[in-house]
Symmetry: D2
Subunit: 304 residues, 4 copies
């Protein structure tokens, strides 16, 4: 499972091969192919394969909409139009396959996105490596006092040291015992499918993950969001960089119409119209709840 010398050789070999193809090809993705992009302390994302490009989106849209698309003068304009009007099927015509190494607690969030194909390393068949995610000091954050699922200030001094000691100590001991239970020296050796239950959620696993562009954008919108947990967000951000190279026009549209977009409720739109007409609106006169109003103000005052 490790990405040591053998893996280096395999990557070099894969990157060395080249064949002519008539398929849509993206030079910037060819450059990225097979090379692991580091994430967290031991994780990575690497592109194994891709299908389609910006032109493939346009090509599929023109099949669907035929003459209806002729008035959109160029590819960027058409892609923006499709994104703005929630035409998802042309984006489904692109596909990407990634090899990802990630802590188990991140994998558990990630797998909730059901519209992807996954081949995960099986700890029932094979033995996991001794690799654990230990947060960098600047990521060792306190529980947020305002948000049940958020982080507050960074821990400092002795508390930070205690936490790191516990995380490292428990990981080490759990893995030592995992090996001790599996060992067949002088004993039978516990079944792998049982021994794995002793391993903590910060151990690394890996998988092949294949997804179409529409569903990838949905994943990125949720996981590259600033409210996503840091440990999955860094993976999403790495994949954003990859997508930017792969389908630059679609990514730009995604950024404007999804990542940076804001959804206003019917009530909020009404308030907005009153404000633009010069009226002063307060939470009391807005018809919104306090929570909604706080979020609304965050958006229009550039905070959020």
């Amino acid at each position: 499972m490790s990405d040591g010398t053998n893996a280096q050789d395999e990557i070099a070999e894969l990157r060395a091969r080249s064949a002519p193809t008539r398929r849509a090809t993206v030079p910037a993705m060819e450059e990225r192919l097979y090379t692991p992009h580091k994430v967290l302390d031991h994780g990575f994302v690497r592109v194994i394969d891709y299908m389609g490009d910006d032109a493939a989106i346009v090509q599929a849209a023109r099949v669907s909409y035929g003459a209806g698309t002729k008035h959109v003068s160029n590819d960027a304009g058409l892609i923006n139009y499709l994104m703005r009007h929630w035409h998802s099927t042309p984006f489904e015509m692109c596909e990407i396959k990634l090899h990802v190494k990630l802590p188990v607690f991140v994998a558990r969030q990630w797998i909730r996105h059901r519209t992807a194909n996954v081949n995960e390393y099986s700890a029932r068949y094979s033995i996991l490596d001794r690799e654990f995610y230990i947060p960098a000091p600047e990521q060792l954050a306190a529980q947020s006092t305002v948000n049940n699922q958020g982080r507050g200030a960074v821990l400092e001094g002795e508390e930070a040291a205690r936490v790191l000691e516990m995380l490292k100590g428990d990981a080490t001991r759990s893995y030592d015992h995992y090996e001790a239970m599996l060992s067949q020296e002088g004993q039978q050796g516990l079944a792998r499918e049982l021994a794995r239950m002793n391993l903590p959620a910060n151990i690394y696993t890996q998988w092949y993950w294949k997804i179409d562009l529409h569903n990838l954008f949905h994943f990125l919108r949720l996981r590259a969001d600033k409210h996503a947990q840091y440990e999955i967000r860094v993976y999403a951000e790495t994949i954003c960089e990859i997508a930017k190279d792969w389908v630059p026009l679609a990514y730009a549209a995604f950024e404007d119409y999804r990542l940076n977009s804001v959804q206003f409720s019917g009530k909020a739109v009404e308030v907005l119209r009153r404000m633009l007409a010069g009226e002063t609106v307060t939470q009391e006169t807005s018809g919104m709840s306090k929570g909604e109003w706080r979020e609304f103000e965050g958006v229009i005052h550039n905070g959020s």
Copy 2:
């Protein structure tokens, strides 16, 4: 929408382009790319793109099963093993994108397979071409007298002539009226989204259809089956030929463990054991219903 002169030029242009790639590449598929393979009287299947090959299936399986797969000595053996034991995820790592032109009544069956990406030509936006499926004389079959969803003998003589006349006449008249309703000469012209309702189910539509290999095999098992309606089966058979070129090892395993396989119920397995032990079993002593017994006998006596 037609595949006339412009389409020929576009195909030639697409086929002429070539770029080096580090991705998995299958020469036999490169040869097929963009060329329409004729199906029925006006339909076709053409490969627009593909991702992965037999080696990609093996590569994904080895990520999942790690050391657990080392004992399977070669790729063919591993792929057979995966297919036999219903390990579907490695097959999901391959993907194919097809451009298909097909009659609407075939499209209606086809779309029931939900795990695919589809971009269909929209008759709301654009105008359909005057192209209808008219069965060849040897496909003009009578209703089966034993199977509610099957065909019996081929129609002959006057009856066949009457049927063809009705199909052709109604198609022509419907399309004439479709054009007449749409026309803006001397009148407003009916909305496209309404005019299309006059068109019969044998008019041709087209779509881009993208699916992973596992789900493609599921589609092919149902639609290349001899009980499938002829008009969809010929599409499935064409795609079988393509798949054979694309992933020869996986296709051979699919043929043996799916297409040509037989599912025996628990009761049937019991009867088989008794028969192999020399017992003579009849429907009455089998515990099976008459319908089951008939199907069982069909299989073991090479009929089916």
Copy 3:
């Protein structure tokens, strides 16, 4: 397939039965059960079964978020919060099963929503009834001159009469020929799976359609939208009425945060902030394309 006398008896029988249950029960839905709600000229929607209610959404959310939901003081507040923050899984915990009778061209749009369970009447097995959708005079609209997929003014006078005559005449003739081809009097009779190809897209079909509330809302957002084709929108509007009875809190949240909501792109949000700060912004200084700007103005000036 028809909903004549037998169907009436069956409905009366189903409605007469009653049994005690410990499951979540919604009196207003019990009232609706099995009764067909008319749509278009021969279509209907009727509720066959439902699972869950507003409380089931809350119950599921509290499993997920545990103590994290305690601060939201009541069910309506929690449901609004979930909807606002795109927490979709609690809404997936409710399910509805509908029996729908609809024209084939509407069914073809509808089936594109893949996350539902469907049992459609099979014209391969059985014979379709002589029932066609013929638009009411006020729905006989011209092609829009500004929108490729829209309708313009209503057709009048002779043109309207001509269109109705063509639609009715072609439907009648196609069905007469359908029957003539199927007939086994004095001839073999064409297979049903072939004869159906002569039927136009305004013939009625029917299906059982089962979907969870999250995906139902997605369907309704697209199909109850004013840009949806009238013939599917009336089905969506009927289902909106049903959903309002079924899960009144969730429906209210859906209405505010989805149906009546507006998505502003990152660029549009920037412009809004400038406007609210008193700046006069024009299309030229907005950074938006003409199309975007037109849509943006439509929203903020109450047009949309």
Copy 4:
């Protein structure tokens, strides 16, 4: 999260309520509703809701196949026919919602079935309870020497004692440290979303899980299989008992045509025909690989 006194009260309250309904109702399921069925040392399965029954499957099939189903004389016969011929959509018309408490390593296998709705307890929002799966002595099995993903003999004596000591000790220590890191007494307290990474895979989680009957059967076929890991198999077996009560006819068909069925490859069917014709076939003359032959012999000689 615990199911202590409050949970008992809640269950009693839920079970006490009753309302009349016109929906399909199954008395044996009413009896089961809300009561937890124990699985493993701290786990459970309880039915929260259900939709449909055997009659609902028949009802949906009759919509699809219309007159085509009239010749199947009764419900059991029709359901058997549907199951035998892979007609999956009528089974999708039934739905069940379960509340399941299960160890995380079991949850990780379970979630791979993507066609279900899930609301899992979130350790990002809330604090997990101190409850760990510790295998019973008779489940403490050695690694299989023939099967990479299987178990061999039960561990004995000192080895068993050592394993239990390690599992219990590590669980206790990990949880103590989890609490210590979270504690806000005299320190800030680590964020929940981080602290959870220290917890081992045998800690219990819980979720609401909702699935249609077709996909439930698929899950049960894989997880109630004797090759499935014991710790998930006991959940599947409990659900089998529930399904038997819920849809007795469909369950019987599932048992015969899926659970107890055997898939024979094209090659195996050929060999079978030769054997039934009196020929003696060996692996060498069968055309099968050694692995296939071993599995084939296992089936026909009642071993498997």
